[in-house]
Symmetry: D2
Subunit: 475 residues, 4 copies
């Protein structure tokens, strides 16, 4: 029940997300205030579901009572996280934060003393996997003879980081450049054994990110993939299961896709037939620069494109034969935009008597400020699942959850699920599932939202759960 | 279990909603096809949650199975509804449909033979309650000496409609002009008795809509208020309870407010602090014309303004002291817009480290095409609740739900709730509560969305419900 | 001074533009009224600058007097145009109009008798130049042994059309599919002679559109290129000059680019520095389908991308070194959108003290309804220039304008100009230049917009021109 | 020809515009650089037409040559302006700049030493004319017994400011709160004499702003009204003429109206019929706060509402009978928005065959950063007109322009014109008129944009002017 001393190692530590995450935690930890044109600012954890969202735990009289998740479960305190990681650029974190152009200038100044001594470890860099335009940043890379040495080096980095900081555990999270998809081949990526052999043989289709995942798993450390590429090939999944290590992916769900999976719920639940979804994006940070390369964009497009398919498929009245709708994803690199990613979506739908409904969204997403708290949640929730054990029915021993931790789907654009588990993209269902697991852990009932205890006269019930169980309904 | 033969009487039958509802049902009933520039069109019930939305009823293997609500519960078939009503304008429904400028011209032509013999009954018209600009339409009004005679006339209309069409029951729904709020006074509106006395005394602050509500209740007929005004004053509520008649309100939730209550969920659940919501609307139909009058606009503004307050209040991390945010509602009458209401919203929020998130929506809402299926749902669901009886614990007799049917809140901008029942505006919670009541009636478990049966290895469960009950969790 | 009897031959007659142009002229000519949901409609020529825009011709007292262009110059009456053309699809114009899904259904019905006997001539079809997805439409194509026979066939078609309809003249306009750019080669496209040799030799890089241009010129007929491809290669230009025939191009400026060239004026004239222009488009008509092919899209992108460069270059305060700004063009084929093309632009600019200004446009462009009147204007204005002769200074003979008719730039996305003529994309300058030429022809002074005659007290002048000439100013 | 030493006195010096104007000039003058999140910033004069826009002065070969206005005419150098003024709040300019929340924090810090000793003079404050919510700011007000003493005090302030700073001249500009309209009455506001009597008699309908205008005029100082109220009543105009002093107004044209007057040109010139214009605004600065009061909003609404009427009226093809279109103006005070005013416009138009064109704009206007360079231009251009003298025809003496300086209309939402001068709101015409006057002063020809010298073969001309004059055209 006591939170362990936990470390975080970010792949791509010096990127926009990495520096924003690190700076944000330091600002909160040291309670740093700063000025911008709007006056004095105090740090917060807005955008984090563990720190800043609440869930209903019951009623006090007619008043519904809500608590934040971190009051329901004993999450690690973000201010206690120890942060480190790798980057292909050798800039210290203070310089990198300045390069990122995300935080207010006065906050940058105040964080600089804390961050200028933080320097990323040398990174695995297989340049074929990321855009050529990243090459100029790559001045901090491992020069091993083969990929197995890279695995060993990363494992050593993890062990040393753990030891140096006297940590109970570490979580690894990829927030580096989107890689192109690796071409998954039988005999190479299909089993843990083949994959390890491929690493030994320096196979060209083993990506940098897969190296980190393997090293993580072998160090018994949860690995989280915050980018869209297919790091977590079947061989990695098998390796994770064998080693009883959690893996989570893929791709932070922070902006356009997040709202899209909420709006698909909105339309389909309302009985409105979505006909086209056109999603334009442009951004000017290094992520955008990397994605301006076709192969890397493809990874992103795949990650973003199927996000509403299961929602459409759930409604056979609207989609009796097929869920094929017009769905376009466009991402453009527009340097002037900086980190203020713009997401523009147009949703067209058919309504009553074949009328048309059109909804257009212009969404100014501060890319890294939205991603950083999601990184935090992924780490804290994954860490928490390492401490959750269950026993079902007459099971003898306590067990942990399936190693493919699809319950974090709320935070992922393309939730990785195990083969025999339904894929859920609906934002509402994802949030509710997550809340209900934690409520169950805390001994709280799930809320069916019927509020029957207030609607069925004669005898008031204390608890909606009970109400439902006891009631008999005849229609 | 068998659906009764049901009639609908609309107040404001000849308005845009009334004609669209009527034409749409006729098109479906007689399977009328028509042409517009896009080719041949077939009728549908898109936008209706009873007809066109689905809910999960369980899993078949790893596949989730969904059914439409009308397959779960024995709702009245919309094609079997008998439609009638009142209107201050004496246009027959075919002419009125043409005036509405909502349906495709070719569909108007095809529906005309069905609708030209439909003529609204004379309406109660207290002109002080609606905009002066409606006066030119008012050529079909009752001319009774006092308000009690109006009540009696409406009651008679209901009885005759029922008899003429050999109906088991009737539902009354107000889809006429928004009235100004009546000034609720002690001694006048506070009790059923006082209210009836006020009617007898021809009290000026008893509104036309309240007359319809009273007549409905006295005829043992469910009354639904689709406009924002305060028809359902305490005296009406008491009268409904005394007569064991359902009342439902207020104001169809079809466009801007609907998405707003979904997006407030989206933000607040994500731990993002909403700071301002600016909602602009313009429309050119007769609703817009009526609302261009200040007093009527006020009713609408009240109805729209508090719709997210309970959602904000549920998060004390984001709103520790007060839920006061900047929230503006503007409605403008722009004749050229016609029925294609435009709703423009800007949502500003504070995110991590006080960054700003801005979301702008441009929403082209076909006003009446969105409202008509909501009218249908309100009628069908309210009718269904008349047939649901429950017994809780050791209760002896079966009872019906609280007469203030707040469970229809998904369909209402400002859900009317009884004094001791929490108000829920969250679109997600409203939908889930409604689904879960019907699933309970049908003997189906509510879904907690944890999908634990797929995530807890060793022993697969058939049913998420069971899983949850049997599991023991230790954190 | 009398308008000649004029025919129009459209390449791509059966496409959306061709059918809308033809149907629209017929509706106007025969004064056809029709119904849509908004009531009875009467035809108009909105969107045509010759028919529906006005220009100031002087003042009457303090009132400025404006006249439409067609009252200033003796343009051909659009209702008198005789229309014909070619298409790769053999659908008659009535069917094709129905396929286009542009006009109201009731108008389609009323136009059908007029258009069902109109059948396009067989078209030149070099399938390598347009998207593969167009192949299924290509059932009406010439099957000549070589390209010179195609030229001869088209020439014959022109002569026969002229004769059959007893026309004084014909204008040819390409409104067919966008072709890919042909690869301009020395020895092939560089001179008239080489080009004619290439045609004889059946050179693969001579495009279908170039064949039409050559045939036109040889028939002494003005040729207008309404698509972006490089039909008008140097050899065509030389041929036109030799034969004293006008050529006009490229690409109708109807929607996004039109407003972009107005807004660039707006910003740059205001001293505001444009930093990024991101232009998203999606459309669902056959144009969009063809452009979904990469090579064809490239033509469009080139046509759209440089449209503001000369405007930026005119301001060396804002752009002292280079006019390089972020400028992205995206076009997506989204079938559900139909002909209602959506253009979304985001303009970011630097303002005082490096603040940012952001302007976002959502533009619902009815693609063919905007293009058809531009087609009309191109034809009427080009025809008019055939009748304008001038004599400068001590020149002996009257001459006609340069054969590359860049004065029609207002109507063209990428105005074709002769080598030694400045390129003007500014919408304001284009309109004013055009107006001023016609005013000069009509003996009217150009307006300098100073209104000095009203602002310089003591002695009022009749004419701003005179005022300016006579005044002496000392600063 | 040499620029005089010029002072500026702002009414409302401590407001957002006043502090931004002052800070911006100081940053430029002292070449202050500063940091924000995007890196190091250098000051500029973007948004000023005198400093940062260019106009064509001729051609060099085929290249068009452009110069900025301040290279064409000897404007006062903005860095040489001496700034002072009045404010109802006694905050020094450094504090006031901080309160404004407009400039980057680091720039605020760097400007503070320059601005903390700048303190506004006591202001005339007739509280009935501005919103009640401004009262809390009013701690720096004159307490004279009557309005004539106020006039005298302001005159004295002007003289002392001039003397203390050894100035050749001063310009006065109102950038304070929008006042309500004064009720113009015969016998009070109609003549200079009556107005002066009303001031003496302390008439309640003489507004604070009119007091400043009178004092200005009596001190022989140009007065510019940057707000919408009717300061410049007929009596003020007469007084200005008598004293040969320029007056300019009304209301800075910086954002929504500016683009609206450009887009009306765009549509109407294209022959497209505007049908509705719906203009929503919200802002959170003190201007917004003041405008949240109904009477003050009315002034703004009047100023904004008629801005396109003359443009519509110029096209009798589109508007044969009346120019009445749906035109709505809404302004809301939304504090969270701060100075980043949002302007949202929807333009609907009828196009060919009664199709609809819809254009939606979302415009993030930095209110004060857009206004400050307009303030600068108004001052510099008005000052320049004081130095322009002309002589027409056989006039004996040089004269100055009409005292109602309507030529500055480009910078004004509601350009004040003299009774017998046409009102021009078209942004394009306003800019061109202004440019042409200055070009005439500089001995440059106006450009008719025909580029005929490049289009009429045989004999090239050096100058488009000459071309036009010499050519003979026969149509």
């Amino acid at each position: 029940m006591k939170a362990p001393k936990t470390g975080v190692m970010l792949v791509g530590w010096g990127g926009n997300n990495g520096t924003t995450f690190t700076g944000g935690i330091l600002a909160n930890k040291h309670n740093i205030t700063w000025h911008n044109k709007k006056g004095e600012q105090t740090p917060n954890y807005y955008g984090s579901i563990t720190q800043a969202s609440t869930t209903k735990i019951g009623c006090r009289g007619t008043e519904e009572v809500y608590l934040p998740l971190n009051k329901i479960m004993p999450f690690v305190d973000p201010n206690e996280l120890v942060i480190g990681g790798w980057d292909i650029s050798n800039m210290n974190l203070a310089q990198a934060m300045r390069r990122a152009e995300v935080l207010d200038y006065n906050l940058i100044e105040k964080l600089t003393p804390y961050m200028e001594k933080m320097v990323p470890l040398k990174a695995v860099y297989y340049k074929d996997f990321i855009a050529a335009n990243q090459e100029t940043r790559a001045d901090n890379i491992l020069n091993n003879a083969n990929k197995m040495e890279d695995v060993e080096q990363i494992r050593k980095d993890i062990r040393e980081f753990k030891k140096a900081n006297d940590l109970d555990k570490v979580v690894i999270l990829w927030t580096a450049n989107t890689e192109r998809f690796c071409k998954v081949e039988a005999g190479v990526h299909d089993t843990a054994e083949n994959l390890m052999k491929a690493v030994e043989n320096n196979h060209p289709e083993v990506s940098s990110s897969t190296i980190y995942a393997i090293a993580s798993i072998l160090e018994n450390t949860t690995y989280i993939n915050g980018s869209p590429q297919n790091t977590l090939v079947p061989g990695v999944i098998e390796l994770a299961k064998k080693n009883d290590v959690f893996i989570v992916g893929d791709d932070f769900k922070s902006g356009q896709t997040k709202i899209k999976t909420a709006l698909a719920d909105f339309f389909i639940n309302a009985g409105i037939k979505q006909e086209s979804v056109v999603s334009y994006n442009h951004l000017g940070n290094n992520d955008g620069r990397n994605l301006s390369s076709e192969a890397q964009f493809k990874s992103k497009e795949i990650s973003k494109k199927s996000c509403i398919d299961d929602i459409l498929a759930s409604n056979k009245v609207l989609f009796p034969h097929s869920i094929k709708i017009d769905h376009e994803i466009i991402i453009k690199y527009v340097p002037f935009t900086g980190d203020s990613k713009k997401a523009i979506d147009e949703y067209m739908s058919s309504i009553f008597l074949n009328g048309n409904h059109t909804l257009v969204l212009y969404n100014v997403c501060e890319d890294s400020l939205l991603a950083a708290p999601i990184i935090l949640d992924l780490i804290l929730i994954a860490e928490m699942f390492e401490r959750i054990w269950y026993k079902i029915g007459d099971q003898k021993e306590f067990t942990r959850f399936n190693k493919v931790l699809s319950t974090l789907g709320y935070l992922c654009k393309a939730p990785l699920t195990d083969v025999d588990c339904p894929l859920v993209n609906s934002l509402g269902r994802q949030k509710e599932g997550l809340n209900n697991i934690f409520k169950a852990c805390a001994g709280l009932h799930c809320d069916d939202n019927t509020l029957l205890e207030f609607k069925c006269p004669v005898q008031k019930q204390n608890d909606s759960k009970q109400t439902q169980e006891n009631q008999q309904v005849s229609a």
